[in-house]
């Protein structure tokens, strides 16, 4: 565990000040509990509890998921700790009018990268310094140059395999899915009150965890976050059977980047690529 002492100190001061001045009803941040190897989310409601807040390399969870929950928004104005990557999620929630900018106080943290094994997001991070927050804490971080090909590394690796290998691979992976929908629950952008998998007339996605239903679920999930997903990797992180969902999300992000020059979460004013069109969009084998 590598603690970012300067960020932790400023976070506690900021949270304590916001709560005692009653600027926010709660601050959502990270805390350490019982020696676990990752930081856990914490809701700080009283100024004296601000001492619980930390920032270290175990803070890889995406707290923006709470902003999408109406019971959390009902608390009142929320302070929330966001890394640069989490801020991109918040930007999508703002652009989709899930949360109003005035109802949230963004506490940005400059982050050099968290200890997020298996995900390419820190290696290809272009937002170490969150831009557009109400306050930013932590020491300045160098922004290394990121190669475009590193952005979609997992997807590109998969594309080098033959279609038969890919089909075998995904058959094996998706066959293990137990349909717990942890990927959906953990995703800050999967906030529909009534999800397509719960619809039964007609039933688009078969509910039993057999391969056919699993494929339909993962196709539906991937398409529903296409052009929205910012690649936080929370879905893959919470998957109890370890399905490599980052590769799927990256593939879809790569398509909207290549076809429409769109990268999700850059600004709260952007328009999603599937709510607009251009007459010059690529046409691939349209007969």
């Amino acid at each position: 565990m590598k603690e970012n002492a300067s960020a932790t100190k400023s976070l506690r001061e900021t949270a304590s000040r916001l709560l005692s001045e009653e600027k926010v009803a709660a601050v959502i941040g990270y805390a350490r509990r019982n020696g676990a190897d990752m930081a856990v989310p914490v809701f700080v409601r009283r100024p004296e509890d601000a001492e619980q807040l930390v920032f270290d390399d175990g803070c890889f969870g995406n707290l923006a998921v709470y902003l999408a929950k109406s019971e959390v928004r009902a608390l009142g104005k929320l302070g929330i700790v966001v890394k640069g990557c989490d801020l991109r999620t918040v930007n999508v929630l703002l652009r989709e009018h899930v949360v109003d900018r005035d109802d949230v106080y963004l506490i940005g943290v400059r982050c050099a990268g968290v200890d997020d094994s298996g995900a390419t997001r820190c290696a290809a991070c272009e937002s170490h310094d969150p831009d557009g927050c109400d306050v930013v804490v932590g020491d300045p971080v160098d922004q290394p140059k990121v190669n475009a090909e590193d952005r979609y590394k997992d997807a590109a690796e998969m594309e080098t395999r033959s279609p038969e290998e890919r089909w075998e691979f995904w058959r094996r992976e998706l066959d293990r899915c137990i349909r717990c929908y942890a990927c959906r629950q953990a995703c800050p952008l999967c906030y529909c009150k009534r999800c397509i998998v719960e619809k039964t007339a007609p039933q688009w996605v078969e509910s039993s965890p057999h391969l056919r239903g699993n494929i339909a679920w993962h196709v539906a999930r991937a398409l529903h976050v296409t052009g929205r997903c910012v690649g936080c990797g929370q879905c893959e992180r919470v998957c109890p059977v370890g399905i490599p969902l980052n590769a799927v999300n990256q593939k879809m992000a790569k398509i909207v980047d290549e076809w429409f020059g769109f990268r999700s979460g850059q600004s709260p004013d952007e328009q999603g690529p599937f709510s607009t069109f251009s007459e010059d969009d690529p046409e691939i084998e349209i007969l």
């Binding site: 688009w204 056919r212 196709v219």
Partner: protein
Amino acid sequence: MIQDNTQQPDASKWQPRIVAFLCNWCSYAGADLAGMSRFAYPAAIRIVRVPCSGRVDPMFVLKAFERGADMVLVSGCHPGDCHYTSGNYHARRKLQAFRELLSFFGVDPRRFKMSWVSAAEGGKWSSLVTELTEEARKLGPFEAFPSMVNAETA
């Protein structure tokens, strides 16, 4: 009687089954014109009329594959000619992304076709269906999706 489409095709009698989602204003009228003009084309195609190609949700296509379609076609008005101004442009973005996703999972992208057929293109419709039927026949039965569940229920 509802036909059981999940049955494995008998190899000796097998004929491809193509499910086509046609927009009401152009492609459906184009297919209608082909019929009225007495253009012959193979009977492998099953047409579902939709208000606009933009109405087609990728789940429609997936469901068709699950129920045993060997090929799925979505056809709409030519770009610029949509009855609702822009439905086909939205369909183009959405469905092409869907095809890329299928292909990423290893599904042969040739199983999912898109076309623009106008109400005046009865001839194009008839030759398109002929070509697609030939291609579907060459690709053979698409058993990937139906077979998953036969194994499950067996």
